[in-house]
Every structure is written in structure tokens, then in C-alpha cells.
């Protein structure tokens, strides 16, 4: 048996509302709220980045796992905003947690799918017996170009999962993947902001791959949408995952806890992993969760987890996602937001 033995998240305290961004660009805020189901998003403080969010999330995962960090034999950090172009984030995280030096680390990148990529690898490594525990993190401090549609959603956050084979809080039942080469979104070397295919990011990209992964895992496990207690999809906005869920036969109570985007924004590599963490926060023992990520470029990873009795014991050993999301927020005006995100350039 392999699965999750501990999990934790970190969300910056700063937020900006859709209205505040729309005001600057002369856009219709209510249309964005309604059309994309977005209200506000998290903004990293100037001293937060993918590495700091990862470390702080992983510390909470360690509290829930209750293990000696030295038992972790692998650390994977999935992000598209690694602090360095060349120099791993994984070693910073492993060093901060006291895991070094007997550990394998790697940084992963696959648009918004890098977090579940790390989870997939970590779970398979534990299953193979190569390591007894493995840490996988999805973290991003994503940027949308000023005035671009992505500016309303690109946000910051991290979710960390420690995988193991003893004292599980959620057992892994099955995985599946669905990938094709689809150029819906990219960022070239040295480009500050990503470019995307506009409406092309919908049907042939997000929808096709999420559907492909869901159908594959349902077929492999001979299950139907109603067999799952909970569902978590990648959530680039609040609209796509809800549309997809309904189209595929899932209902609101199944995705209620996992849908964070309306007040969090899209945390890219952290998106579906944070939705999973929020679902674990509320789940009871012996419930099943279907998790399906999506990363542009493009592909989806699907996982089925079943929660255990131990989940209840760890619920309050670290802050819950909703608490981090709903309490003690600082709202920013666009000017401060632009300074925080280094959109204002000072003379050298």
C-alpha cells in the first residue's frame, strides 16, 4: 500500500480583487467575475517565491506526516516559476527541511502539471521500494502580462505531499495519464510573460486532455462519476473545471471543497494539488477522491485516492487550506501589486 502520509499548503497573505485590475485596463469586472468565476487572487509578498512557498508548505506536510525528515529519500518540486533558470529549487527545499544529503532531488516543469508530475514520480518510487518516503511539491508564483486575461487569474501558492507506505492518510488506488503535443501556452527562454493560444486553450487543450484522463481512469477501474465522493480538476479559472465536471457527469457536492480558484486564482503547478489538500481537509475516512491535473503543452495526470482513519488525526496538525485562504488577508491596490510583482522597473 502506498499513498499520502502528510500534506501541507502555503498561500501568501496578499490579495488583489478582479475589480482592481479591471479598473486599470478599462475592463468589465463583472463580466470577468461571471464569465470566469474569478473574484480575487493571491499575490506573493516581495520576499516570497516558489522556493519559500514550497518550504513553508512542506514543513506543514512534515507536521502531518510525523516522520523524521531524514526518512525522505526523494524531493521533487514542480513549478514554472523556479527562482533560478539554472540551479535547483529542490536542493533549497531539501536543505531547509534537513533532508540533505542522502536524497534524490529534481525540479520539474510542465506548465500547470508539474506538481502532479512530482506526485506521480514520488508515489511510483515509494511503490517500487527505491525510497521509503518521497516529497512532492507543486508551487508557483505565476505572472500574467499586464492587461492580459491571465493577469486576473495568475496567482501564488504551494501544496506539498509526503508519500509513503505506512501510516497513510490517503491510499493511492490508481493512476493514469493522457498526453499529446498541443501548443496552447508557452514561454520562451528570457521571455518574462507567457503567450497563449486564446480560445485554443479550451476545447483542444484543457477539455480534451482532462476528458481523456478521466475516461481512461474510469475505464481502467470500471467506475462511474457517481462512485467518487470528491473530484478535483486543474482550475485555470472558476469556469472550466465546473463546465467539465458537469459535462462528464459529476455534481457540485463532489467538487465543492476542491474548487479554490474563485478566491485563490490559478496557482499553476499548485492548482490541483491545493484542491486535493482542501478536499483532504474536509474528507472523512474511507472516501474516494479523483484528482485530474492539466498542464499546457499538453497533458493530464489522473489519480484515485481513498482516505483512511488516520486522516482525522492529522486534520488539525497544520493549518487548513480554507483558513489560509479566507483569514488574515491584506488587499493590495494595483500600484502596490505592480511593485510586488516587479512590473514597475526602477532605473538600474
Amino acid at each position: 500500500m502506498v499513498g499520502i502520509i502528510g500534506y501541507g499548503t502555503q498561500i501568501p497573505r496578499y490579495r488583489i480583487k478582479v475589480e482592481e485590475i479591471a479598473k486599470v485596463w478599462g475592463a468589465d469586472a463583472s463580466a470577468i467575475r461571471r464569465g470566469l468565476n474569478l473574484n480575487e487572487k493571491s499575490v506573493p509578498a516581495p520576499d516570497e517565491d516558489c522556493a519559500t512557498l514550497s518550504v513553508n508548505a512542506a514543513r506543514d506536510a512534515l507536521k502531518r506526516a510525523g516522520i523524521d525528515p531524514k526518512k525522505i529519500g526523494a524531493v521533487y518540486v514542480g513549478s514554472e516559476s523556479h527562482p533560478y533558470a539554472v540551479k535547483p529549487t529542490g536542493t533549497i527545499v531539501a536543505e531547509a527541511l534537513g533532508i540533505c544529503p542522502d536524497v534524490h532531488t529534481a525540479d520539474l516543469e510542465f506548465a500547470c502539471k508539474a506538481g502532479t508530475e512530482g506526485m506521480f514520480i514520488a508515489l511510483q518510487l515509494v511503490k517500487s521500494g527505491a525510497v521509503s518516503c518521497a516529497l512532492a511539491i507543486g508551487a508557483d508564483t505565476s505572472q500574467g502580462a499586464p492587461g492580459d486575461a491571465l493577469e486576473y487569474s495568475a496567482s501564488a501558492g504551494a501544496a506539498a505531499f509526503i508519500m509513503g507506505s505506512e501510516n497513510l492518510v490517503a491510499e493511492l488506488l490508481e493512476t493514469d495519464c493522457y498526453m499529446t503535443d498541443t501548443p496552447d501556452f508557452w514561454r520562451r527562454e528570457n521571455a518574462h510573460y507567457p503567450e497563449h493560444g486564446g480560445r485554443f486553450t479550451g476545447d483542444p487543450a484543457y477539455k480534451k486532455h482532462v476528458t481523456g484522463a478521466v475516461m481512461a481512469i474510469l475505464e481502467r477501474t470500471a467506475t462511474k462519476p457517481e462512485d467518487f465522493d470528491y473530484l478535483v480538476f486543474h482550475q485555470p479559472n472558476g469556469k472550466f473545471p465546473v463546465q467539465m465536471a458537469k459535462k462528464l457527469g459529476f455534481k457540485e457536492p463532489q467538487y465543492r471543497y476542491g474548487l479554490l480558484t474563485p478566491t485563490l486564482g490559478n496557482t499553476y503547478s499548485g492548482s490541483s494539488p491545493m484542491g486535493l489538500a482542501a478536499t483532504l481537509d474536509e474528507a472523512k475516512p474511507e472516501q474516494t477522491i479523483l484528482l485530474v491535473s492539466y498542464g499546457s503543452g499538453a497533458g493530464s495526470d489522473a489519480f484515485i485516492f481513498r482516505t483512511t482513519e488516520r486522516l482525522l488525526e492529522v486534520h488539525n496538525q497544520a493549518p487548513k487550506v480554507r483558513k489560509q485562504l479566507d483569514e488574515h488577508k491584506f488587499y493590495l491596490e494595483y500600484g502596490s501589486y505592480a511593485k510586488f510583482r516587479r512590473k514597475i522597473l526602477k532605473p538600474e
Partner: protein
């Protein structure tokens, strides 16, 4: 700061690694080679909890090089629950309402960077302990 100095300080900056004297049990942070209390040279490595209360602080409005964009920010002395007093920056707080006695907790944050292309320095910083 330079690369070797930052690298040497990683244990204390990244995970608040301290030395606990094996003879008089005093905790030294940063760790030292010789215990100033009893002269002992043997220590157990421990990681401090990072939790404590604010003893005193000041608000920096004219910052040294590399910290200009953070002003105004607070620097304070925090008494950790292990009894150790640590100086550090206090972030994610309202500098107007911060007060001595506040409960704080250490988080892992970006401290500074050597320009746009240089090394990024990470360290602990304190934030209000709000259970988030």
C-alpha cells in the same frame, strides 16, 4: 554578502540549527565552537521551533542597500520558547499595529539577492503567529 559566507550560514538561516551544550545544556544560536558559559566543546545539533514573542523592535524607513524596496519594515528581537533570543526581520505584518509581546513564528523567506543575475539569499523571517 558573498557566496561562501551565505553557504556557511545555511544551517542557521534555512532551518534555525542551534548547538545545545552537552555539559551545561545551554542553547547557542548561531552555533559556536566553544560554549561561552562552561568552555565545553561538544554540542548536540537541534532545530529551533521558530516560535516566540516579540521583545523589542524598530521600524526601518531608510534601508541599507538591497532592502530599499521593503520599507517600512520591522526588525526585532524575538524570545523563542527555547529561551533563545534571536534578531530578525518581521514580515507579513502591519508595522503600525505591531507591538512588543506579539506572538511570532519563523517562516522561510527570501532575504536578499545579489542584483538581478546574482545569488538569491534565503533565511528565516518572523511573521505574526496566526495559525496560517
Amino acid at each position: 554578502m558573498n557566496v561562501p559566507k551565505h553557504w556557511r550560514e545555511i544551517p542557521e538561516r534555512y532551518r534555525m540549527e542551534a548547538g545545545k551544550c552537552t555539559k551545561c545544556t545551554k542553547i547557542l544560536f548561531p552555533a559556536r565552537l566553544v560554549c561561552p558559559f562552561c568552555g565545553n566543546k561538544e554540542f548536540d545539533k537541534i532545530n529551533l521551533s521558530g516560535k516566540g514573542k516579540l521583545l523589542t523592535y524598530t521600524i526601518i524607513r531608510t534601508a541599507p542597500e538591497g532592502f530599499e524596496d521593503f520599507t517600512p519594515y520591522a526588525i526585532g528581537i524575538v524570545e523563542l520558547k527555547e529561551g533563545v533570543k534571536v534578531m530578525g526581520q518581521i514580515t507579513d505584518c502591519n508595522t503600525e499595529t505591531l507591538k512588543t509581546g506579539d506572538q511570532l513564528v519563523a517562516k522561510f523567506r527570501r532575504m536578499n539577492e545579489e542584483g538581478k543575475t546574482g545569488m538569491i539569499m534565503y533565511s528565516y523571517k518572523f511573521v505574526p503567529d496566526l495559525g496560517i
